[in-house]
Symmetry: C2
Subunit: 218 residues, 2 copies
Amino acid sequence: MATARTSAAARPYHHGSLREALVEAGLSLARTGGPEAVLLRAVSREAGVSHNAAYRHFADHDELLGAVGERCMRRLALLMGTRTDEVRVRQPVKRARAELDAIGRAYIEFAQTEPGWFRTAFAAVKSDQPGDHAQLSAAETPPSARELNPYQLLSARLDRLVEVGEVPAERRPGAEYSAWSVVHGLSCLLVDGPLRYLPPAEIEVAINTALALVQRGL
Amino acid sequence: MATARTSAAARPYHHGSLREALVEAGLSLARTGGPEAVLLRAVSREAGVSHNAAYRHFADHDELLGAVGERCMRRLALLMGTRTDEVRVRQPVKRARAELDAIGRAYIEFAQTEPGWFRTAFAAVKSDQPGDHAQLSAAETPPSARELNPYQLLSARLDRLVEVGEVPAERRPGAEYSAWSVVHGLSCLLVDGPLRYLPPAEIEVAINTALALVQRGL
DNA sequence: GACGGCATGTTGACACTGACAACATGACAA
DNA sequence: TTGTCATGTTGTCAGTGTCAACATGCCGTC
């Protein structure tokens, strides 16, 4: 008896933390197969549990996929944070620009190195309420730790560009939509869309011109 | 005989033009339900034919979805062409800019007014060969009629901007990737993504700033 | 003008999925 | 000790894509 899928511990009683195990399994499946690989039954199988067990932790398939998607989104935000911290420029104005460039590059880098997760992060958002699009600003959460989402990270960089005087204040409203659109659009076209099989050299060109467009156009 | 499948006439012999009927049915389903509504069985049902009939015209589900997606893409290109033709500016330089703006607006307009078709146009491209990404330039087709795809329409507008001197020639390479990314990204975010429930006023802001970014940044 | 080939459409089956209902187990409190 | 109830299981159902076997009737050939 007592076979564990990840660690060597025997399955204790009721498995203990199945919800977490299911999300983890979903993450693993999504990494290679994208959101369409996050099947209720496949996830249960992966977690070493019978199908329908997931229904004790998620209302339906969408809710499971949503939970996995949230984790993917967090990973995206994490990479964006990491790449921002790696910026070594000291001069404030140049630094502000470099940091914006860094989170943009990180966004595209994530889409390219983890296409399954990237697609899952955005495919998952299917069934959520029109709730004033509050999830963008992360609602209640105090902006304490590294708990920021991609949208918030971007907003902070844009605010900084206004502070240092590189972007006129009257252009600030709506700027996150534009900047986000560029990197998100290119990511989608490269990962999923018609630019999927672009040769690497052309991909490089596309990324650089896209990010340059943001820097010039803001 | 010679009955249309939509009217109430008796089905003649072997249906006559099932392939076309299937694609048409798929288009109808995709319009309201997006690509996930283009089910092999649902399409067959809609066309008044038994399931598996479609296998005489399409290798599998992906091929049917691909055919429907092509039609969606063509409709997108059609709207872009229409909106370009509606530009009334005479002065060549201003006209070049206005036309670029028009195809960008048309792209987003299509995504918003026909989200099901928009998503199908890009969801369909799943299984096609890495064939040198030739489908972008539409391979053999002479650029004769209104047969241009969205990518070609965009390229033509960018070429024109260089001609009239509004865009320096050294910035031309890769420009279609950037411009495309902006409108595609915004469309995805608005239709499918986290900006789905943005209030209409904010949507207006987002569209205008995004298009302004393109004009300024090229 | 009869005949036969063959593209086209149908019926039936199988494995897979998400979802529901009924049942089993065992942790924990009374 | 006992009973409750969250948690996990088994069984089932409708719906899907796909394959194989079968039916139909249009067309060219003799």
